[in-house]
């Protein structure tokens, strides 16, 4: 936002539209919308300055359920539409809601460019590793071997890692959370919103109908403590039930390893401290996968930088101060003209 306004008082209920929600009962999207509403209530941007732009998919139904402005567009193109909207009015708070197919299959190119341009919009990727709306085909984030109507013998494509991709695109804010983490999610969203420039948030979302339990190996409550690490800037990367496991960098192999504090002489001082401004660290964290590693959640990377529309309007202002915007009638007469008759 270029204009800072005092936050207004808002409740989750005021952010809820009158439309009947049409996700399957038990869908992770319910949890996410709850978290978004609570984050937005805390952020306090007036509802009339908030816009949700989405593509197509189950996730993309999101805007209908928010009592803000909303645009449910076409498959994969939400980042481009959001860019145009931001160009027209940089003062809007724009959220892009997208699914793994929408964002990384058909929409991969627009995701790349909205991120590298650093357009000040917040991209929320609901990753359920499946095409929900079209009834269950595998997606670019589905693990190899996913059986689906289009891959009855199992998928063979290597999945893309959403956050590694975002980092490779030049994203300056990359974060990750899980649909069920109702405390963590709003925090991440507030950070994304506060970041000036494009923010990219991957949310692991359970599709109960077509890909139930796709992330259970690190989201199940019983094992979560050992399979998730919450990264926080300036804090050591510790995790585990007893918070005694940690991530250490093996400087000779340049690879991460999981160690236990107190074992083999490992102290907390040996544990990597998270630095969200270090892109290489973010890449290393992004690559961690169970079972060898916990999944890194939180803000993996955040780097300040000029956002796109600010730069665009700075040029418009510069143009105005350099060349006078003479009235149309005068513009038409600029350059060579000549008079006939009269």
């Amino acid at each position: 936002m270029t204009v800072q306004q005092a936050p207004v008082a808002l409740t989750a209920k005021e952010l809820t539209s009158d439309q009947e929600v049409r996700w399957c009962p038990g869908c992770g999207d319910y949890a996410i919308i709850k978290a978004v509403r609570s984050a937005l209530a805390e952020i306090g941007t007036p509802r009339d300055r908030t816009v949700f732009v989405s593509g197509i998919g189950c996730a993309a139904r999101f805007p209908y359920y928010m009592a803000t402005y909303g645009f449910h567009t076409i498959h994969g193109r939400a980042p481009a539409i959001a860019t145009g909207l931001k160009l027209a009015n940089p003062e809007l708070d724009i959220w892009v809601v997208t699914g793994d197919g929408d964002c990384l299959s058909i929409g991969g190119n627009h995701t790349l460019h909205v991120l590298r341009r650093n357009v000040d919009v917040n991209v929320l990727l609901f990753n359920n590793a499946i095409y929900g709306l079209t009834k269950g085909q595998y997606s670019p984030t589905s693990r190899v071997g996913t059986k689906s109507p289009s891959t009855p013998m199992g998928s063979i494509d290597n999945p893309v890692s959403a956050v590694e991709f975002a980092l490779g695109c030049g994203a300056r804010f990359v974060a990750r959370s899980v649909d069920t983490l109702q405390k963590h999610l709003p925090v991440v969203m507030k950070r994304a919103h506060a970041h000036k420039g494009a923010s990219f948030v991957e949310i692991f979302q359970n599709c109960i109908v077509y890909n139930d339990g796709a992330f259970a190996h690190f989201t199940d409550r019983e094992i979560a403590a050992d399979t998730q690490v919450f990264v926080e800037h300036g804090k050591p990367l510790l995790f585990g039930k007893d918070n005694d496991k940690g991530i250490r960098l093996n400087t000779s192999t340049l690879k991460l390893e999981v160690v236990k504090v107190g074992e083999n002489g490992v102290t907390v001082g040996d544990i990597l401290v998270h630095d969200e401004t270090n892109k290489v660290l973010a890449t290393l964290l992004a690559q961690m996968q169970p079972p060898s590693f916990p999944v890194a959640l939180g803000v993996l990377y955040a780097e300040e930088g000029l956002d796109y529309t600010t730069a665009v309007y700075a040029q418009v202002a510069a143009a105005k101060s350099k060349k006078k915007a003479v009235p149309m009638a005068e513009l038409l007469r600029s350059g060579h003209t000549w008079r006939v008759g009269v």
């Binding site: 539209s17 439309q19 007036p46 509802r47 009339d48 300055r49 816009v51 732009v53 197509i56 805007p63 209908y64 928010m66 009592a67 803000t68 402005y69 909303g70 645009f71 449910h72 567009t73 076409i74 193109r77 481009a80 539409i81 959001a82 860019t83 145009g84 909207l85 931001k86 160009l87 027209a88 009015n89 003062e91 809007l92 190119n109 627009h110 790349l112 460019h113 665009v312 040029q315 418009v316 143009a319 105005k320 350099k322 060349k323 006078k324 915007a325 009235p327 149309m328 009638a329 513009l331 038409l332 007469r333 350059g335 060579h336 003209t337 000549w338 008079r339 006939v340 008759g341 009269v342």
Partner: protein, 622 residues
Amino acid sequence: MSAVSAELPRHIDRRELESVVIRFAGDSGDGVQITGSQFTDTTALAGNDLATFPDFPAEIRAPAGTTFGVSAFQINFGARSIATAGDAPDVLVAFNPAALKVNLSDIHPGGLIVLDTGTFSARNLEKAGYATNPLEDGTLTKYRTLKIDISKLTLEAVKEMGVSSKEGLRCKNFWTLGLVYWLYGRSRQSTIDWLQRRFASRPEIANANIAALNAGHAFAETAEMPGEISSYVVPPAPLEPGVYRNITGTDAMAWGLLAGTQLAGIKLVFCSYPITPASSLLHALANLKQYDIVTFQAEDEIAAACSAIGASYGGALGITSSSGPGVALKGEAIGLAISTELPLIVVNAQRAGPSTGMPTKTEQSDLYQAVFGRNADSPVAVLAARSPADCFEVGIEAVRIATKYMTPVIVLTDGYIVNAAEPWRIPDMGAYEPFPVQFRTDPEGFHPFLRDPETLARPWVKPGTPEMMHRIGGIEKSFSSGHISYDPENHQKMTDVRAAKIDGIANDIPLQTVEDGTEGGALAVVGWGSTYGPISRAVGNLRAEGEDVSHVHLRHIWPLPRNLGDLLGKFDRVLVPEMNSGQLVTLLRAQYLLPAEGLNQISGKPFKISTIEAAIREQLEK
């Protein structure tokens, strides 16, 4: 060998000429386009009417001396109104053998050819594909020729000017221009002024070029010029009084769109992806940022269309542009704008296809795509500009329709129109009625698919407007609530109302008039777009001979003017010349069940007047 030799038929008639067609041709590096545009400016100042046709090579910078590297610029100017760049040049200025090779067949016998003999080296002849030297093997006997070692004379003229010999040789186009100026009695002053402005930071270059210009002029005037040739006179044309300028289709469109958004009182957001020949519009608007214009080079055509739609959703006017293959990519997004009823302008600078086709060549073959080229029942408004200057009016009209009817408008131009220039009587901006957009701000009884009873347009609401929060999308929505609806009757109603809205535009555009001729008769020649020039001239010529033929030219391709069917019904025959395989003719036949016939040329080149004249005669004899 002396620097010049002339072989001219004796006893040349020194009469005043009514019009002349000159083509400059040379290597891409020879400055042909600059030469042409300088000649154009000077000619306009002299009061002639004129039309031009720049013809770029397909390659960026083909190896020097090759035929595929030849660039050309044709100008037709006259003491009467000029409608086309001319069928066949009266004068060809060929800067090298390749330029001669490529262009010779277009010159009619007796035409004048000005040649730089200094470039007719064995190597250059070979590159041009000449087995023997055309200067010597009789190739040119049918023509009048001026064979001058321009290269050598230019170098001599600039040798004191402090430029390198490479830079010096680059002045030869101005040497030649000086000579041509003399032939047509032109003043050098505006070109001298231009050179001084252009090379303000490198005065030695300006001076060298001016020296060359003067030397060429002096050469023609002095004894070294063959005695038989003197200056022709092309008197000023009887143009409507007013202030004139030259304008390309690109600049006219840029200004028209800007003027339109000013009349509408909204911001212009232009989103495009480069493609020949559409890119120049992006370039032109990128230079107008002082008007609060935002220009955006998107990652591809889909993003360009979508960001324009996003901008329109945001309350600006989103405009996108491309050529055929790029517009093909925008089809799905245009459907979204149709379904959500957002204003959007899509400018298509048509080029020869299919697929990549011939990007630098012109064609009119995207009418089907504009009118029919989307999934589902998805009508939009379609406009076509007839000439470079007409782009200004069409640009304004597109903005008016898009914002008043909340609809995409497709604007068709083509490779010829965007690059060519013509003199334009600058309109009085005060004469344009503003059409300010009324954004809806009143929440009382609001839903986003309410409709204006007259235009059937839905209300336009800027996100950011208090208490007007709403959601729109590409799924079918209820006529009565604006919410998603899968109701069968509602879908019928919405499909009908979308069609009726576009159809209703026909009540808000001028009735079709006859451009030249009568409201009925033996033959109507119906055109659209850039065939305007050759059709109007052909019809004019034949009417002057007393033939019963009239010219009807469409600006509004969809919806068609209300009276068009009746009007055409008053003619015995209808002929539709198009630079495609017959697309408008399909529309007219389907709409009016008229036995309209096509005259179709798909060669990447504008029609010749003579081609249309012949077709008219044939029709009249039927």
